[in-house]
Symmetry: C2
Subunit: 209 residues, 2 copies
Protein backbone atom coordinates (compact mmCIF):
# COMPACT_ATOMS: atom_id res chain seq x y z
CA UNK A 1 0.00 0.00 0.00
CA UNK A 2 1.79 3.10 -1.18
CA UNK A 3 -1.19 5.40 -1.55
CA UNK A 4 -1.83 7.86 1.24
CA UNK A 5 -3.99 6.45 4.04
CA UNK A 6 -7.48 7.80 4.17
CA UNK A 7 -7.06 8.70 7.81
CA UNK A 8 -4.92 11.72 6.89
CA UNK A 9 -7.98 13.22 5.25
CA UNK A 10 -10.05 13.03 8.41
CA UNK A 11 -7.50 13.80 11.06
CA UNK A 12 -6.85 17.15 9.41
CA UNK A 13 -10.46 18.13 9.05
CA UNK A 14 -11.39 21.59 10.36
CA UNK A 15 -13.67 20.04 13.00
CA UNK A 16 -10.79 20.44 15.35
CA UNK A 17 -10.23 17.72 17.93
CA UNK A 18 -9.78 14.13 16.90
CA UNK A 19 -12.74 12.60 18.69
CA UNK A 20 -13.43 9.69 16.37
CA UNK A 21 -12.72 6.26 17.88
CA UNK A 22 -9.87 4.44 16.23
CA UNK A 23 -12.22 1.66 15.11
CA UNK A 24 -14.17 4.14 12.99
CA UNK A 25 -10.96 5.10 11.18
CA UNK A 26 -10.26 1.49 10.43
CA UNK A 27 -13.75 1.10 8.99
CA UNK A 28 -13.33 4.18 6.82
CA UNK A 29 -9.97 3.01 5.57
CA UNK A 30 -11.31 -0.47 4.78
CA UNK A 31 -14.37 0.97 3.06
CA UNK A 32 -12.33 3.31 0.85
CA UNK A 33 -10.02 0.49 -0.16
CA UNK A 34 -12.87 -1.83 -1.03
CA UNK A 35 -15.15 0.74 -2.69
CA UNK A 36 -12.20 1.84 -4.85
CA UNK A 37 -11.26 -1.66 -5.91
CA UNK A 38 -14.63 -3.33 -6.39
CA UNK A 39 -17.14 -0.50 -6.36
CA UNK A 40 -19.79 0.32 -3.75
CA UNK A 41 -22.36 -2.29 -4.75
CA UNK A 42 -19.87 -5.14 -5.08
CA UNK A 43 -18.54 -4.42 -1.60
CA UNK A 44 -20.31 -6.18 1.26
CA UNK A 45 -20.54 -5.02 4.84
CA UNK A 46 -18.75 -8.27 5.69
CA UNK A 47 -15.82 -7.24 3.46
CA UNK A 48 -15.47 -3.93 5.23
CA UNK A 49 -15.90 -5.27 8.74
CA UNK A 50 -13.47 -8.15 8.19
CA UNK A 51 -10.81 -5.84 6.74
CA UNK A 52 -11.26 -3.57 9.75
CA UNK A 53 -10.81 -6.55 12.06
CA UNK A 54 -14.31 -6.83 13.49
CA UNK A 55 -17.68 -8.46 13.00
CA UNK A 56 -20.29 -7.05 10.58
CA UNK A 57 -22.47 -5.91 13.47
CA UNK A 58 -19.76 -3.62 14.82
CA UNK A 59 -19.99 -1.47 11.69
CA UNK A 60 -23.43 -0.28 12.78
CA UNK A 61 -22.16 1.05 16.08
CA UNK A 62 -20.05 3.62 14.22
CA UNK A 63 -22.08 4.23 11.06
CA UNK A 64 -25.77 4.02 10.47
CA UNK A 65 -25.43 2.21 7.13
CA UNK A 66 -23.10 1.19 4.33
CA UNK A 67 -24.28 4.24 2.40
CA UNK A 68 -23.48 6.40 5.43
CA UNK A 69 -19.86 5.30 5.18
CA UNK A 70 -19.81 6.23 1.51
CA UNK A 71 -21.35 9.61 2.24
CA UNK A 72 -18.69 10.44 4.81
CA UNK A 73 -15.87 9.40 2.49
CA UNK A 74 -17.31 11.32 -0.42
CA UNK A 75 -17.98 14.51 1.50
CA UNK A 76 -14.57 14.57 3.19
CA UNK A 77 -12.83 13.80 -0.10
CA UNK A 78 -14.64 16.57 -1.92
CA UNK A 79 -14.06 19.03 0.91
CA UNK A 80 -10.33 18.27 0.86
CA UNK A 81 -10.18 18.70 -2.91
CA UNK A 82 -12.00 22.01 -2.80
CA UNK A 83 -9.66 23.23 -0.08
CA UNK A 84 -6.67 22.26 -2.21
CA UNK A 85 -8.07 24.07 -5.25
CA UNK A 86 -8.98 27.18 -3.24
CA UNK A 87 -5.52 27.29 -1.70
CA UNK A 88 -3.79 27.17 -5.06
CA UNK A 89 -6.17 29.62 -6.75
CA UNK A 90 -5.80 32.17 -3.97
CA UNK A 91 -2.04 31.73 -3.68
CA UNK A 92 0.78 34.05 -4.70
CA UNK A 93 1.84 34.89 -8.22
CA UNK A 94 0.11 35.76 -11.46
CA UNK A 95 -2.75 33.64 -12.85
CA UNK A 96 -0.38 31.44 -14.88
CA UNK A 97 1.77 30.63 -11.85
CA UNK A 98 -1.30 29.88 -9.77
CA UNK A 99 -2.77 27.70 -12.48
CA UNK A 100 0.44 25.75 -12.76
CA UNK A 101 0.47 25.13 -9.04
CA UNK A 102 -3.22 24.23 -9.03
CA UNK A 103 -2.77 21.61 -11.73
CA UNK A 104 0.38 20.25 -10.12
CA UNK A 105 -1.32 19.76 -6.79
CA UNK A 106 -4.67 18.63 -8.18
CA UNK A 107 -2.97 16.03 -10.37
CA UNK A 108 -0.58 14.80 -7.71
CA UNK A 109 -3.46 14.47 -5.25
CA UNK A 110 -5.47 12.34 -7.66
CA UNK A 111 -2.44 10.11 -8.20
CA UNK A 112 -1.42 9.84 -4.56
CA UNK A 113 -4.92 9.48 -3.12
CA UNK A 114 -6.26 7.53 -6.08
CA UNK A 115 -8.30 5.15 -3.93
CA UNK A 116 -10.17 8.04 -2.34
CA UNK A 117 -10.27 9.70 -5.74
CA UNK A 118 -12.00 6.74 -7.31
CA UNK A 119 -14.67 6.66 -4.65
CA UNK A 120 -15.12 10.42 -4.83
CA UNK A 121 -15.40 10.57 -8.62
CA UNK A 122 -16.93 7.26 -9.65
CA UNK A 123 -19.33 6.25 -6.88
CA UNK A 124 -21.48 9.37 -6.86
CA UNK A 125 -24.49 7.47 -8.19
CA UNK A 126 -24.60 5.31 -5.06
CA UNK A 127 -24.92 8.28 -2.70
CA UNK A 128 -28.22 8.87 -0.86
CA UNK A 129 -30.00 11.91 -2.27
CA UNK A 130 -29.21 14.33 0.55
CA UNK A 131 -25.52 13.45 0.59
CA UNK A 132 -25.44 13.78 -3.17
CA UNK A 133 -26.78 17.32 -2.97
CA UNK A 134 -23.99 18.35 -0.59
CA UNK A 135 -21.35 16.79 -2.80
CA UNK A 136 -22.77 18.25 -6.01
CA UNK A 137 -22.50 21.73 -4.51
CA UNK A 138 -18.84 21.12 -3.65
CA UNK A 139 -18.15 19.92 -7.20
CA UNK A 140 -19.74 23.06 -8.60
CA UNK A 141 -17.53 25.18 -6.35
CA UNK A 142 -14.42 23.40 -7.61
CA UNK A 143 -15.39 23.98 -11.21
CA UNK A 144 -16.18 27.64 -10.52
CA UNK A 145 -12.82 28.16 -8.84
CA UNK A 146 -11.01 26.85 -11.91
CA UNK A 147 -13.16 28.88 -14.27
CA UNK A 148 -12.47 32.05 -12.29
CA UNK A 149 -8.74 31.48 -12.46
CA UNK A 150 -8.88 30.95 -16.21
CA UNK A 151 -10.89 34.15 -16.58
CA UNK A 152 -8.29 36.02 -14.55
CA UNK A 153 -5.62 34.70 -16.87
CA UNK A 154 -7.57 35.74 -19.92
CA UNK A 155 -8.15 39.19 -18.45
CA UNK A 156 -4.47 39.89 -17.91
CA UNK A 157 -3.51 38.45 -21.29
CA UNK A 158 -1.71 35.37 -20.00
CA UNK A 159 -4.19 32.90 -21.47
CA UNK A 160 -5.95 32.71 -24.80
CA UNK A 161 -9.14 30.73 -24.41
CA UNK A 162 -12.27 30.94 -26.53
CA UNK A 163 -14.61 28.98 -24.25
CA UNK A 164 -13.76 29.31 -20.57
CA UNK A 165 -16.19 26.64 -19.39
CA UNK A 166 -14.92 24.08 -21.86
CA UNK A 167 -11.34 24.82 -20.90
CA UNK A 168 -12.19 24.50 -17.20
CA UNK A 169 -13.83 21.17 -17.88
CA UNK A 170 -10.73 19.98 -19.68
CA UNK A 171 -8.44 21.06 -16.83
CA UNK A 172 -10.42 19.34 -14.07
CA UNK A 173 -11.13 16.38 -16.34
CA UNK A 174 -7.43 15.69 -16.84
CA UNK A 175 -6.82 15.62 -13.10
CA UNK A 176 -9.86 13.57 -12.18
CA UNK A 177 -9.13 10.89 -14.75
CA UNK A 178 -5.72 10.34 -13.16
CA UNK A 179 -7.43 8.53 -10.31
CA UNK A 180 -8.84 6.07 -12.84
CA UNK A 181 -5.61 5.04 -14.55
CA UNK A 182 -2.81 5.75 -12.07
CA UNK A 183 -1.47 2.62 -10.32
CA UNK A 184 1.36 1.49 -8.09
CA UNK A 185 3.15 0.37 -11.22
CA UNK A 186 3.07 3.76 -12.88
CA UNK A 187 6.61 4.88 -13.59
CA UNK A 188 6.01 8.56 -12.87
CA UNK A 189 5.75 9.74 -9.28
CA UNK A 190 2.68 11.82 -8.45
CA UNK A 191 4.82 14.95 -8.28
CA UNK A 192 6.50 14.29 -11.64
CA UNK A 193 3.13 13.70 -13.23
CA UNK A 194 1.85 16.91 -11.66
CA UNK A 195 4.73 18.93 -13.10
CA UNK A 196 4.24 17.49 -16.57
CA UNK A 197 0.49 18.04 -16.51
CA UNK A 198 1.07 21.59 -15.28
CA UNK A 199 3.19 22.21 -18.35
CA UNK A 200 0.64 20.64 -20.72
CA UNK A 201 -2.26 22.61 -19.25
CA UNK A 202 -0.48 25.97 -19.50
CA UNK A 203 0.18 25.34 -23.18
CA UNK A 204 -3.40 24.19 -23.64
CA UNK A 205 -4.61 27.50 -22.23
CA UNK A 206 -2.46 29.40 -24.69
CA UNK A 207 0.16 30.62 -22.20
CA UNK A 208 3.58 31.27 -23.68
CA UNK A 209 5.89 28.91 -21.80
Amino acid sequence: MTSTPIADLWRTLPDGADTRPEAAYRLLQAAVESFAERGFHATTTRDIATAAGMSPAALYIHYQSKAGLLAEISQAGHAATLELVRGAAAGEGDPAERMRRLVEEFTAWHARARTVGRVVNYELHALPEDAYAVVAALRLDIEREVSALIEAGVADGAFQVSEVRTAARAVTSLGIDVSRWYTDRSTETPDELGRRYGELVLRMLGARV
Copy 2:
Protein backbone atom coordinates in the same frame (compact mmCIF):
# COMPACT_ATOMS: atom_id res chain seq x y z
CA MET B 1 -33.05 9.29 -25.40
CA THR B 2 -30.71 11.33 -27.57
CA SER B 3 -27.60 9.19 -27.27
CA THR B 4 -26.90 6.82 -30.13
CA PRO B 5 -28.58 3.46 -29.74
CA ILE B 6 -26.29 0.63 -28.88
CA ALA B 7 -27.61 -1.40 -31.77
CA ASP B 8 -25.70 0.75 -34.26
CA LEU B 9 -22.50 -0.58 -32.76
CA TRP B 10 -23.44 -4.17 -33.42
CA ARG B 11 -25.21 -3.93 -36.71
CA THR B 12 -22.08 -2.44 -38.24
CA LEU B 13 -19.70 -5.03 -36.82
CA PRO B 14 -17.42 -6.70 -39.35
CA ASP B 15 -19.04 -10.09 -38.71
CA GLY B 16 -21.10 -9.39 -41.76
CA ALA B 17 -24.70 -10.47 -41.79
CA ASP B 18 -27.13 -9.41 -39.12
CA THR B 19 -28.03 -12.77 -37.68
CA ARG B 20 -28.76 -11.77 -34.10
CA PRO B 21 -32.44 -12.10 -33.10
CA GLU B 22 -34.12 -8.79 -32.40
CA ALA B 23 -34.73 -9.79 -28.78
CA ALA B 24 -30.99 -10.04 -28.20
CA TYR B 25 -30.59 -6.42 -29.39
CA ARG B 26 -33.25 -5.29 -26.97
CA LEU B 27 -31.41 -7.04 -24.15
CA LEU B 28 -28.10 -5.43 -25.12
CA GLN B 29 -29.68 -2.00 -25.33
CA ALA B 30 -31.39 -2.42 -21.96
CA ALA B 31 -28.20 -3.71 -20.36
CA VAL B 32 -26.09 -0.80 -21.65
CA GLU B 33 -28.62 1.71 -20.41
CA SER B 34 -28.82 0.15 -16.98
CA PHE B 35 -25.11 -0.62 -16.54
CA ALA B 36 -24.32 2.98 -17.51
CA GLU B 37 -26.82 4.49 -15.12
CA ARG B 38 -26.53 2.29 -12.07
CA GLY B 39 -23.38 0.23 -12.63
CA PHE B 40 -23.05 -3.48 -13.32
CA HIS B 41 -23.50 -4.71 -9.77
CA ALA B 42 -26.50 -2.52 -9.00
CA THR B 43 -28.27 -3.76 -12.12
CA THR B 44 -30.38 -6.90 -11.72
CA THR B 45 -31.22 -9.41 -14.40
CA ARG B 46 -34.84 -8.47 -13.67
CA ASP B 47 -34.08 -4.83 -14.55
CA ILE B 48 -32.60 -5.81 -17.89
CA ALA B 49 -35.25 -8.33 -18.80
CA THR B 50 -38.12 -6.02 -17.84
CA ALA B 51 -36.67 -3.14 -19.85
CA ALA B 52 -36.32 -5.48 -22.81
CA GLY B 53 -39.95 -6.55 -22.40
CA MET B 54 -39.51 -10.14 -21.28
CA SER B 55 -39.14 -12.37 -18.25
CA PRO B 56 -35.78 -12.85 -16.48
CA ALA B 57 -35.50 -16.41 -17.78
CA ALA B 58 -35.56 -15.25 -21.40
CA LEU B 59 -32.25 -13.48 -20.87
CA TYR B 60 -30.52 -16.84 -20.53
CA ILE B 61 -31.72 -18.05 -23.89
CA HIS B 62 -29.66 -15.32 -25.56
CA TYR B 63 -26.76 -14.86 -23.16
CA GLN B 64 -25.12 -17.30 -20.81
CA SER B 65 -24.96 -14.85 -17.91
CA LYS B 66 -25.23 -11.21 -16.84
CA ALA B 67 -21.45 -10.99 -17.10
CA GLY B 68 -21.66 -12.38 -20.63
CA LEU B 69 -23.81 -9.42 -21.60
CA LEU B 70 -21.23 -7.05 -20.13
CA ALA B 71 -18.43 -8.82 -21.96
CA GLU B 72 -20.17 -8.45 -25.31
CA ILE B 73 -20.89 -4.75 -24.72
CA SER B 74 -17.35 -4.06 -23.57
CA GLN B 75 -15.64 -5.90 -26.40
CA ALA B 76 -17.80 -4.38 -29.12
CA GLY B 77 -17.39 -0.89 -27.63
CA HIS B 78 -13.62 -1.22 -27.45
CA ALA B 79 -13.42 -2.65 -30.95
CA ALA B 80 -15.44 0.26 -32.32
CA THR B 81 -13.23 2.78 -30.51
CA LEU B 82 -10.04 1.20 -31.79
CA GLU B 83 -11.42 1.22 -35.31
CA LEU B 84 -12.25 4.91 -34.98
CA VAL B 85 -8.75 5.72 -33.70
CA ARG B 86 -7.03 3.63 -36.38
CA GLY B 87 -9.10 5.28 -39.09
CA ALA B 88 -8.16 8.77 -37.97
CA ALA B 89 -4.49 7.95 -37.36
CA ALA B 90 -4.11 6.38 -40.80
CA GLY B 91 -6.06 9.09 -42.58
CA GLU B 92 -4.86 11.80 -44.92
CA GLY B 93 -2.83 14.86 -44.01
CA ASP B 94 0.15 15.59 -41.80
CA PRO B 95 0.36 14.37 -38.18
CA ALA B 96 -1.22 17.55 -36.81
CA GLU B 97 -4.23 17.29 -39.11
CA ARG B 98 -4.67 13.63 -38.29
CA MET B 99 -4.36 14.30 -34.56
CA ARG B 100 -6.98 17.00 -34.79
CA ARG B 101 -9.36 14.66 -36.53
CA LEU B 102 -8.60 11.86 -34.09
CA VAL B 103 -9.41 14.02 -31.08
CA GLU B 104 -12.52 15.45 -32.74
CA GLU B 105 -13.92 12.01 -33.46
CA PHE B 106 -12.75 10.39 -30.23
CA THR B 107 -14.30 13.17 -28.17
CA ALA B 108 -17.55 13.33 -30.12
CA TRP B 109 -17.92 9.56 -29.87
CA HIS B 110 -17.52 9.63 -26.10
CA ALA B 111 -20.16 12.37 -25.88
CA ARG B 112 -22.61 10.82 -28.30
CA ALA B 113 -22.25 7.23 -27.13
CA ARG B 114 -21.71 8.16 -23.50
CA THR B 115 -23.82 5.28 -22.15
CA VAL B 116 -21.68 2.75 -23.97
CA GLY B 117 -18.64 4.79 -23.04
CA ARG B 118 -19.42 4.57 -19.36
CA VAL B 119 -19.78 0.82 -19.47
CA VAL B 120 -16.64 0.47 -21.57
CA ASN B 121 -14.48 2.66 -19.36
CA TYR B 122 -15.87 2.28 -15.87
CA GLU B 123 -17.11 -1.31 -15.58
CA LEU B 124 -13.88 -3.07 -16.53
CA HIS B 125 -13.46 -4.46 -13.02
CA ALA B 126 -16.66 -6.49 -13.36
CA LEU B 127 -15.49 -8.36 -16.47
CA PRO B 128 -14.69 -12.07 -16.25
CA GLU B 129 -10.94 -12.65 -16.49
CA ASP B 130 -10.86 -13.91 -20.08
CA ALA B 131 -13.00 -11.08 -21.40
CA TYR B 132 -10.85 -8.61 -19.49
CA ALA B 133 -7.73 -9.90 -21.21
CA VAL B 134 -9.25 -9.30 -24.65
CA VAL B 135 -10.35 -5.81 -23.71
CA ALA B 136 -7.04 -4.89 -22.07
CA ALA B 137 -5.26 -5.75 -25.32
CA LEU B 138 -7.60 -3.47 -27.27
CA ARG B 139 -6.98 -0.63 -24.82
CA LEU B 140 -3.23 -1.05 -25.22
CA ASP B 141 -3.64 -0.87 -29.00
CA ILE B 142 -5.58 2.39 -28.70
CA GLU B 143 -2.89 3.93 -26.51
CA ARG B 144 -0.14 2.77 -28.87
CA GLU B 145 -1.93 4.24 -31.85
CA VAL B 146 -2.08 7.65 -30.17
CA SER B 147 1.54 7.45 -29.02
CA ALA B 148 2.69 6.60 -32.56
CA LEU B 149 0.87 9.58 -33.98
CA ILE B 150 2.43 11.90 -31.42
CA GLU B 151 5.86 10.50 -32.24
CA ALA B 152 5.25 11.13 -35.93
CA GLY B 153 4.35 14.72 -35.11
CA VAL B 154 7.48 15.15 -33.02
CA ALA B 155 9.60 13.64 -35.79
CA ASP B 156 8.39 16.09 -38.42
CA GLY B 157 8.65 19.05 -36.06
CA ALA B 158 4.92 19.71 -35.73
CA PHE B 159 4.75 18.79 -32.03
CA GLN B 160 7.01 19.62 -29.11
CA VAL B 161 6.55 17.00 -26.44
CA SER B 162 9.03 15.95 -23.77
CA GLU B 163 7.28 12.75 -22.64
CA VAL B 164 5.31 11.02 -25.38
CA ARG B 165 3.62 8.51 -23.09
CA THR B 166 2.43 11.13 -20.68
CA ALA B 167 1.10 13.23 -23.52
CA ALA B 168 -0.69 10.23 -25.03
CA ARG B 169 -2.25 9.51 -21.65
CA ALA B 170 -3.47 13.08 -21.43
CA VAL B 171 -5.00 12.97 -24.92
CA THR B 172 -6.93 9.74 -24.40
CA SER B 173 -7.77 10.74 -20.84
CA LEU B 174 -9.50 13.92 -21.98
CA GLY B 175 -11.70 11.98 -24.39
CA ILE B 176 -12.55 9.12 -22.05
CA ASP B 177 -13.57 11.43 -19.24
CA VAL B 178 -16.15 13.04 -21.52
CA SER B 179 -18.31 9.95 -21.13
CA ARG B 180 -18.34 10.57 -17.38
CA TRP B 181 -19.55 14.15 -17.37
CA TYR B 182 -21.38 14.71 -20.67
CA THR B 183 -25.18 14.70 -20.36
CA ASP B 184 -28.28 15.47 -22.33
CA ARG B 185 -28.28 18.88 -20.72
CA SER B 186 -24.80 19.80 -21.92
CA THR B 187 -24.97 22.93 -24.03
CA GLU B 188 -22.28 21.89 -26.49
CA THR B 189 -23.12 19.35 -29.17
CA PRO B 190 -20.74 16.40 -29.43
CA ASP B 191 -19.26 17.83 -32.64
CA GLU B 192 -18.72 21.28 -31.12
CA LEU B 193 -17.03 19.75 -28.12
CA GLY B 194 -14.87 17.67 -30.44
CA ARG B 195 -13.72 20.73 -32.38
CA ARG B 196 -12.86 22.62 -29.21
CA TYR B 197 -11.00 19.70 -27.69
CA GLY B 198 -9.12 19.23 -30.98
CA GLU B 199 -7.93 22.81 -30.68
CA LEU B 200 -6.93 22.43 -27.04
CA VAL B 201 -5.02 19.21 -27.67
CA LEU B 202 -3.03 20.62 -30.58
CA ARG B 203 -1.89 23.50 -28.41
CA MET B 204 -1.12 21.10 -25.59
CA LEU B 205 1.16 19.16 -27.91
CA GLY B 206 3.02 22.33 -28.82
CA ALA B 207 1.66 22.68 -32.35
CA ARG B 208 1.56 26.23 -33.68
CA VAL B 209 -2.08 26.88 -34.40
